[in-house]
Each structure stands twice: as structure tokens, then as C-alpha cells.
Symmetry: C2
Subunit: 197 residues, 2 copies
């Protein structure tokens, strides 16, 4: 095996999510055989991103500058805040173009197993933000897992006891989902929450 910078590159690439040693080697070779068209532009972008992209001090989204473009956008509805576990969830919701409020990124969900306590998440800042604001609805867009749901309960319990409406994403059959491939929990939840046609 080759030592030196190439080996270091492969080692660093293999620590990326989804890349093992073999795929990191493939990526490294691909980068080196496309030096002008990929390796150098990608390096430039990474340097630029490292310089300018940071967590939004208001919501925790990743974007250029202190305040992200969603928080800066005056057309967004500041009375609704959508609480998500991570930035990937925020992007997923933005992609749907069906939400026009603002966000709050927790940075994870509570987990006894992984030792993640309320102090490790941006819950205090969420509650502080809500207190000083005109927010009328908090959407808890957390995963339908035990950890996601206990995080939702924790936040609900600690919200200032005002007239704020707290909602969660609907549970049920995913669109395009085939009934006989769904797990029992989803089917029984969808059955209980059945709606009039």
C-alpha cells in the first residue's frame, strides 16, 4: 500500500459517513484522476464553506453569516416555529415548500442510551426564544421514535404555560406506501387516526 499524503487522504475520506476503506480508495482515485475538474474545485468549495458557513445564532440552521436566510427572510411567518432534531430535517421540510414559518434546530434528541440530556440540546434557548416572541404555534417535527417522542414530551412540559398551540407531525401511512409492507405500529396508528373521506 502507498503511504504518505494519499494514504492520509484515504484514511480521512473513510471517516466520512457511508464511506468505508474500499469506497474511500475509489473516491481518492477518482479525485486524483479528475484533479482539475473535481479535486481542485471541491477543495476550493470546502475551504470556502469552512470559512463562511456557520450555525445560525437564531435557529441553528447552517448557512452563510450569523443569521441564516430563513431567519433573515421577512416574508416568513414569525408566529409559527418548527422544532427539528437536526439541520437535515430542516432541509427536508424546506424541500417540500409547504412550510413558511421559522425553525429551531435542537441538535439531536434526548437519549438515555446515548447519554444525551436536555443540557446537550438547544432546549433552553428554544424556550427563551418563545417567551420573548409572538409565537402562537410550536410544531414539534421530531422523528416518530421513542427518543423523538420523549423529546417532544419534554419540550411540551417545559414550554411557558401560555396560550401557545403545540402540534406534532401527523402519524400514518407514508404517501405511496403499500399497506402490506408497513409495520404493525404504523398500521394501527393510521387506523386509530382515520379520517373522513
Amino acid at each position: 500500500m502507498i503511504d504518505g499524503p494519499l494514504d492520509l487522504l484515504i484514511k480521512q475520506l473513510s471517516s466520512l459517513p457511508g464511506l468505508g476503506r474500499q469506497s474511500a480508495k475509489r473516491v481518492a482515485l477518482h479525485l486524483l484522476t479528475h484533479k482539475e475538474s473535481l479535486l481542485m474545485p471541491l477543495t476550493k468549495t470546502m475551504t470556502h464553506v469552512a470559512d463562511v458557513v456557520q450555525s445560525c445564532v437564531s435557529c441553528g440552521n447552517l448557512d452563510e453569516g450569523d443569521i441564516c436566510r430563513i431567519c433573515r427572510d421577512t416574508k416568513r411567518d414569525r408566529s409559527t416555529i418548527c422544532v427539528v432534531a437536526g439541520v437535515a430535517d430542516l432541509w427536508a421540510i424546506e424541500r417540500t415548500r409547504s412550510y413558511n414559518g421559522i425553525y429551531h434546530v435542537l441538535g439531536g434528541v434526548l437519549s438515555a442510551l446515548d447519554g444525551i440530556s436536555p443540557r446537550d440540546l438547544a432546549i433552553d434557548s428554544l424556550i427563551a426564544n418563545i417567551k420573548d416572541s409572538d409565537i402562537t404555534e410550536v410544531i414539534l417535527a421530531l422523528s416518530a421514535t421513542v427518543d423523538g417522542q420523549s423529546t417532544a414530551h419534554y419540550i411540551t412540559d417545559h414550554l411557558p404555560s401560555t396560550s401557545i398551540k403545540v402540534t406534532r407531525l401527523a402519524h400514518g401511512m407514508p404517501m405511496g406506501g403499500e399497506l402490506n409492507y408497513l409495520d404493525d405500529g404504523t398500521i394501527s396508528t393510521a387506523l386509530k387516526a382515520r379520517a373522513n373521506l
Copy 2:
């Protein structure tokens, strides 16, 4: 979706082999949440690699400097040359530590389908190298595919008609391979090439 440098980063990452749009997004987020420990060191390594790593003028391996460390190594046996399609194959053979000769990287194999002709591969330089040298054996370590084998035949036909021995990797059962999972071609090849116990 976020535009700007982050979007560009995701787009560039998704053009890497094995990474789609979703995994590129995951990698980008991972890089940004590990700015000090991964994004910046990786950028540094990539810049360094782009600067110093190049194709060996002698064999085509990727390494620092004009001549790779295998070609520089005076302990290697210069009478045996191993012809491989790509650098990944060279690395795979080096990993086994069972070969002590030198290499020649073709940069691919002949392919009528992909329009790869002898002119696209480093075949002329291989033949020139062999002519001026003390090489006594050429190992054609090419894939056991139609393209690999026709490349091997092409090279054999164009070698200077001297006393040079031309060999290929053995065909047969892979070590640890279970017989009933092997394809018919491999089984019949292994049967024809059976050896005394």
C-alpha cells in the same frame, strides 16, 4: 433547499463515485459539524495531494514526485513487470506483499463498447519499456472479463518477439469461495485447470 456554497459542496460531493444526492448531503453536514477535526484537515490533505501526487512517468502509479516509490525502490526485481489496468489494481496486488517486481499501469482495458482503443491505453510505452530493458517476464494481471482478456491478447501479439515469458493470473476458485455459489464459467475453468494434490 439552501443555495450558495453549501449547495455547491453537496453538488460536487454527489459527483463522487458511490455518493448520491442524499449521501452527499449527509457527508456535507458531517463535514460542517466536524469542521476542526475533519473538514479542515481533509481540505488541507486534498490541497497537498493535488500539489504533490502525480502519475509516475515510468509506471503510471500515483505517488509523490515524478517517479513512484516502487520504481525508485532498488530492492525490487526489475526483470519482472506486472501489467495492470488501473492504479487500484496495483494497490490491490501491493497489499498482498507477494510480488516484488515492477508495474505498468495501462489506464484501462480495450473496449469496443466504450470506444477504448489501443491508442487510449499506455500500451506503446509498455512495449517501448520492455524493448529497452532486462525484463524476462511480463505478468498480465488483467480482469478475467472479455475486455481484460482481449487486452491481454492484444499486448501478447504486440510484444517484441524475444524470449520474454508472458504469464497471466491463474483462474479458478477464489480462496474461501463456496463451490455451489460460483458461476459455471469459474467452475469449469477450475475443473480444467485442476492440479495434483
